[in-house]
Amino acid sequence: MSNNTDRRSFLGFSFAAVAAVGAVPALIGMKKAWDPLPSVLAGGFTEVDLTTLKPGKPATVQWRGKPVFVLKKTAQMEKSDRDVIVGSDRFTVAIGLCTHLGCIPAWKKDVWKCACHGGEFNASGKQTFGPPPRPLDLPEFGLKGNILVLGETGPQYTKLMTVKA
């Protein structure tokens, strides 16, 4: 009897071991099948000519499927440690998706207002009202003279990220 039980448990445990060894790679495979495809990961770079921007009028450009706000600040707008400085001009560069749930806030006079849940961001991209938990995210960028290159990681981007952290 006990001999039999031991044999059955041995068979049971061996099956459990085989099943576990099989399950782990199966789950990893299924997880990876849902990861972004290489073509998506290789998403391109977007260049923005900063000289074409009018102060106080933000431009929206598309980068990796997301909108990016680029605002040339007017003299009246507050300075911020998030500003991208090119020559004597200060710019706000931010991913244009509300950090709450990802709607695109619209520029209303001097703030970005989100229609979805009422969030507001000031001209520096900082949240001033509603549920957004943090300022608008910074996209990776580099500078080539007056050209802003989204997708590169330039020295100013690295600096801003360290300021943030």
Binding site: K31, P67, C114, G130
Partner: protein, 416 residues
């Protein structure tokens, strides 16, 4: 091996091999339903039929729908709506049924809450039902994405972003669920798979489980009388149908259900033919555009209450971010009904009108859910935000109060 003799009829031939006579008895003619019920007990069958309508209309849509960001919108709004014979009908049937099924689910749920049909042996009925509600919600959300209009896109954006609130892995999880940095082709194709295969499969399995959970504890009655089903069944079978307190599922109970079903179907097809617009948001007839959020976005009516709980918390409290508060409240709102049998501390099953404090609680909950639903559709500005906040807090407070309310009722009755 069973003894097989020459069969005298097709029925007997099957009976010898599949035991169909016994099967029929167990499932239909000797499955006992109490007599003391009303039309609200017909909602289960109404739901089963509405789900069948969704499956059948879905099959016809599936034959022309194309799950691709470049083709989806036109395959729905041009091919199905204009070219396919009766394509418009199948789409409107599918859309209206998806909306109406939630109305019936809510009636079904609140019938259960009112009559206390979720406790003392009936917990699994309630839990399997709530799991069905959750899978239906996922089914509704994934289906809403398929026409790839502006509302489809931005609903997908907002809902997938919710997962970003999960600590540590949130941001990576959002990218994984979407298969892209934003909602894109990979997102559409995988949600298409979920909508037409995995979720319906789960729903069918859960429906089977839900039916099975009724077998042992039986259906509740209007007065929660505890019946000796064997004794009552014997009475019925011996011919004393009048004094027996039970009826067979088939043909007696179902014939009543079908009467209710006829009324429902007339109402449903009235909506399909003459009033389908409520289920077809005009904003969703603009193709999805990842660079423009519609001026005002909101979910379908059946998600509004939990959506309003989510956005009701619009300012930080005690150092906790408004975003996290809203998300936690939203999580509670979606999970709390699941544990209802365990936070109701009244040991007895009774209809709400025999539990005075719970009765007040029941109607307060219903009113709160209606307020949340109404304000969930309004833009989140000024006064609206505050009404939403109060109603969202009220919702949480109601569930915190429930154990005390039910305990007090039991005490007053002398049950504990």
């Amino acid at each position: 091996m069973a003894k097989i003799t020459k069969a005298n009829s097709v029925g007997e031939w099957f009976d010898q091999r599949l035991n169909t006579t016994t099967f029929n008895k167990v499932m239909m003619t000797e499955y006992w339903i109490p007599k003391d019920i009303n039309f609200l007990w017909a909602m289960g069958v109404v739901l089963a039929v509405t789900f069948k309508i969704l499956v059948i209309s879905g099959i016809f849509l599936l034959m022309y729908y194309k799950p691709d960001v470049n083709l989806a919108f036109d395959s729905v709004n041009y091919t199905i709506m204009q070219e396919v014979a009766y394509g418009w009908l199948f789409r409107h049937m599918h859309g209206v049924a998806a909306s109406v099924i939630f109305l019936i689910i809510y009636i079904h749920m609140f019938t259960g809450i009112y009559y206390g049909s979720y406790k003392k042996g009936r917990e699994m009925i309630w839990i399997s039902g709530m799991l069905l509600f959750m899978t239906f919600s996922a089914e509704g959300f994934s289906g809403y994405m398929l026409p790839w209009g502006q509302m489809s896109y931005w609903a997908a954006m907002v809902i997938t972003n919710l997962f970003g609130g999960i600590p540590v892995i949130g941001d990576a999880l959002v990218v994984w669920i979407r298969g892209d940095f934003n909602v894109a082709d990979a997102t559409l194709t995988r949600f298409f798979m979920l909508h037409v295969f995995l979720l319906p499969l789960a729903i069918m399995g859960l429906i089977g489980l839900h039916f099975y959970t009724l077998r042992i504890p039986h259906v509740n009655t209007q007065t929660s009388e505890e019946l000796d089903f064997d004794a009552e069944a014997e009475k019925y079978l011996s011919g004393d149908k009048k004094s027996a307190k039970v009826i067979p599922f088939w043909p007696v109970f179902l014939s009543k259900d079908f009467a209710v079903l006829s009324v429902f179907l007339i109402f449903y097809f009235y909506l399909v033919f003459f009033h389908f617009n409520f289920a077809m948001d005009p904003v969703n007839f603009d193709p999805a555009d990842n660079m423009v959020t519609p001026a005002h976005i909101y979910p379908e009516w059946y998600f509004l209450w939990s959506y309003e709980v989510l956005r009701g918390f619009f300012f930080d409290i005690a150092g906790i971010k408004a975003f996290d508060l809203g998300l936690m409240a939203f999580g509670v709102a979606n999970g709390i009904f699941l544990v209802l049998p365990f936070i109701d501390r009244d040991p007895d099953i009774l209809p709400a009108y025999k539990r005075p404090r719970f009765h007040v609680w029941f109607w307060l909950l219903l009113i709160d859910l209606i307020v949340l639903t109404v304000y969930g559709k309004l833009p989140p500005e000024g006064m609206n935000s505050w009404v939403g906040f109060v109603a969202a807090v009220g919702f949480l407070l109601l569930f915190i109060a429930l154990p005390f309310v039910t305990k007090a009722d039991a005490k007053a009755r002398g049950a504990v």
